[in-house]
């Protein structure tokens, strides 16, 4: 009779299960970190993670005055996987904070797990318009920038460059929609084309043919990670760089794109809230330590991961480690008393940042490579977001 064997196998499976359980100790901060660590856009998640972990390391392995345990897992660019990882971190590991997700669609799918369970989520990247406005939630803090912001800055910059016609490309998801809406909000010229590509698409032959036929003065794209790398390479390959100006938001022009694309990136302008050459003390330390630890120049994603850790550190410190008093933790988070690498940092009433945005250009780093350099005067000053009025939280 074979069933005893199968019964034994099932028992073994259960035993294996139980062996996986960690014991939950008090007196430490547990953070659940779920991000995209594999696939063409993994560079983003990896950088956020590296920035976050660096901050914890430089703080002696602590957040606030408590030892920190950061549980890192990979959402594989899949919303359902992220949901299950969130559930695991929240229900099994009983974390105090969730953080990490890069992409808005993945975050929006997984976020209800945190919100329904009353766990605070600190977003080191995705900050969609819905969460800034009508869906705003006291448990949600965006430590990066509102999704539209870089694009509003770019639109304003296009105005200063006197560009009259622009063709827009973005992936077809919430952040993509937000991005082009942001650009159109500030841009005063004519939009001759608006093309939404499939999220994760890597072959842009069809779209580039369309752009060529539309003959715009400039092309503005929002294509983070691997998408942007492929688009820019194929853009140059199709010979479009000669007659059309390519304008980029910071994410498509940061170190993770510059390295694979190479020389074609020289001289391109982009907008961002941070640049590696900022001279404030926190940033100088961050860039130096990051290069020492990981042997590469940090991207803005790394700076956001770093800032997210600093924010949590400040909140834990200000509540003297009493994480059970969530109201106090939320209040401390909102006060955001930490030295951000971007300079002055403060939250709006909807818990999205109010900050400056700058224009950057890609130039020589003096060592044979390319790096971003910023212009001193911000293109948008103390800029919030367009959705704060629809948020029910009023400070």
């Amino acid at each position: 009779m074979k069933s005893p064997t199968v019964a034994a196998a099932v028992a073994a499976l259960l035993a294996g299960w139980l062996g996986v359980l960690p014991a939950h100790a008090a007196d430490k901060v547990k953070v659940g970190f779920v991000s995209t660590l594999s696939g063409p856009s993994s560079a983003l998640g990896v950088d956020i993670r590296d920035g976050f972990l660096l901050a914890v390391k430089l703080n002696g392995g602590k957040l606030g005055n408590l030892p920190a345990e950061v549980l890192v897992s990979d959402d594989q660019f899949k919303p359902d996987v992220a949901k299950q990882l969130f559930e695991k971190n929240i229900k099994r590991d009983k974390v105090d904070f969730m953080t990490g997700v890069v992409f808005s669609n993945i975050m929006l799918a997984a976020l209800p797990e945190a919100l329904d369970a009353g766990t605070i989520y600190i977003s080191p990247n995705a900050a969609p318009s819905s969460m800034a406005g009508k869906d705003c939630n006291p448990l949600f803090f965006a430590v990066s920038w509102p999704n539209d912001a870089y694009h509003e800055a770019a639109g304003q910059y296009a105005n200063t460059r006197d560009l009259k016609s622009v063709y827009l490309v973005a992936p077809n998801y919430q952040a993509g929609k937000d991005s082009l809406a942001g650009f159109k909000r500030t841009f005063k010229g004519q939009v001759v084309g608006e093309n939404y590509t499939k999220l994760g698409q890597l072959d842009y032959a069809a779209e580039l043919a369309e752009i060529r036929a539309a003959r715009p003065q400039a092309v503005y794209i929002f294509l983070p990670g691997g998408m942007g790398i492929n688009f820019i390479k194929q853009y140059v390959g199709a010979g479009l760089g000669k007659d059309t100006t390519l304008l980029l938001p910071g994410f498509s022009a940061d170190q993770d794109v510059i390295n694979p694309v190479g020389a074609a990136m020289a001289g391109l302008f982009n907008t961002a809230h941070w640049s590696p050459d900022f001279t404030n003390l926190a940033n100088v330390k961050f860039v130096a330590e990051f290069q020492k630890e990981y042997k590469r120049v940090p991207t803005l994603y790394a700076s956001q991961g770093y800032d997210a850790a600093l924010l949590i550190d400040a909140a834990v410190r200000d509540t003297k480690g009493k994480l059970e008093d969530q109201a106090a933790v939320k209040k401390a988070l909102k006060a955001a008393r930490f030295e951000s690498v971007r300079g002055p940092f403060k939250f709006n009433t909807n818990q999205y940042p109010i900050q400056n945005y700058y224009v950057r250009t890609i130039g020589n780093d003096g060592k044979g490579g390319l790096v971003n350099k910023s212009f001193n005067e911000p293109i948008l000053k103390n800029h919030g977001d367009a959705y704060v009025q629809s948020c029910a939280m009023k400070g």
């Binding site: 009779m1 299960w17 229900k91």
Partner: protein
């Protein structure tokens, strides 16, 4: 259930009884052990078991290799999800709508596909599922490829009592009830007149046609019933996840269901449940111990194909189970 138990003999009957008791007591056992995180895994196994059993109906007993079964699960999930998103929370409405929608699609898809045979039947069913997949991707109003988040769940009112499937226990027991009913129905179906006719058709439909069976009609009925049951699994899954995306309709999902059926045992009553439980548990256990869990899962599956031709249930029974040829 007792008659089925009697038919199987002592050891197997007590195994079945043990399994039933464990299933009923599971939520309390998990809570006592502090493992309530795994409640959702248990519910997921039950829901997949329903889907796999529905596929086994058409694949195992019907002999119809449908590579598009995920379409029906997805239809059930989307129907229920869209209704909830529109503010209609009544569980009975969800159930009725799911049954109607999946039956309609199954009639059309089955009606056309069943006119083909062999690998062409496989490809046509696959094609229909892919069409629905791409259609779901295009409907931006209900999420498109970003998927649809639903914050509320199905509500059933039973004579004054409100059963909210947001409650994990409620969801588990409702799903368990559906599974139990499906398995009992399947067990009664196999030795019945319709069941025997179906097996004759499966084994040689030319001969069956010659004897006088209206083979096309029998197959279509099986196809529609299987589709409707798959839809119910889908409706339960959207309640479990609070999220539905076009991925539910992708051919790899049909493949996963097929793997569960083959793994558990084609044309066996418990095959769907066995396959779903073993595959999901394997993924969970291997996944928590190593990053490369899928690697070992693959080897286990390969071993089953090469050495356990009748699936795990076949392995357990040690002899051809009643109803399998």
């Amino acid at each position: 259930m007792l008659s089925a138990a009697r038919r199987l003999g002592g050891a197997q009957a007590s195994a079945m009884l043990g399994a039933a008791l464990l299933a009923l007591a599971l939520p309390f056992v998990l809570r006592a052990l502090g493992l309530d995180f795994y409640q959702s895994l248990a519910s997921r196994i039950v829901v997949y078991a329903i889907a796999a059993t529905s596929l086994n109906l058409v694949l195992g007993y019907g002999g119809l290799v449908s590579f598009g079964h995920a379409a029906f699960v997805g239809l059930g999930a989307y129907t229920t999800g869209i209704l909830i998103a529109e503010g209609l929370q009544s569980g009975t409405l969800h159930l009725a709508a799911t049954l109607v929608v999946t039956a309609a699609f199954a009639l059309v898809i089955g009606g056309i596909s069943l006119r083909t045979r062999g690998v062409y039947f496989i490809m046509i069913t696959l094609a229909f599922a892919q069409m629905l997949f791409y259609f779901a991707n295009s409907v931006k109003g209900y999420g498109g490829d970003e998927g649809l988040n639903v914050r509320a769940r199905s509500l059933f009112s039973l004579g004054g009592w409100l059963l909210d499937l947001k409650n994990p226990l409620a969801l588990y027991y409702v799903a368990l009830a559906v599974l139990a009913v499906s398995l009992m129905a399947l067990a009664r179906f196999v030795p019945s007149r319709f069941g025997r006719a179906m097996l004759a058709i499966r084994d040689d439909d030319v001969r069956a046609e010659a004897i006088g069976f209206a083979t096309y009609r029998y197959k279509l009925v099986m196809f529609v019933v299987a589709g409707m049951l798959g839809g119910v699994a889908g409706a339960l899954s959207v309640n479990l996840q609070g999220y539905v995306s076009p991925n539910v309709l992708h051919w790899t999902q049909s493949g996963t269901l097929m793997v569960m059926v083959i793994l558990g045992g084609v044309a066996t009553v418990w095959g769907g449940l066995m396959g779903a439980a073993v595959l999901l548990l394997l993924q969970e256990v291997l996944g928590s111990h190593t990053e490369h869990g899928e690697f070992w899962t693959g080897w286990v599956l390969l071993a089953v194909v090469l050495f356990a031709r009748r699936g795990l249930v076949g392995l357990m029974l040690g002899r051809p189970s009643k109803g399998a040829a």
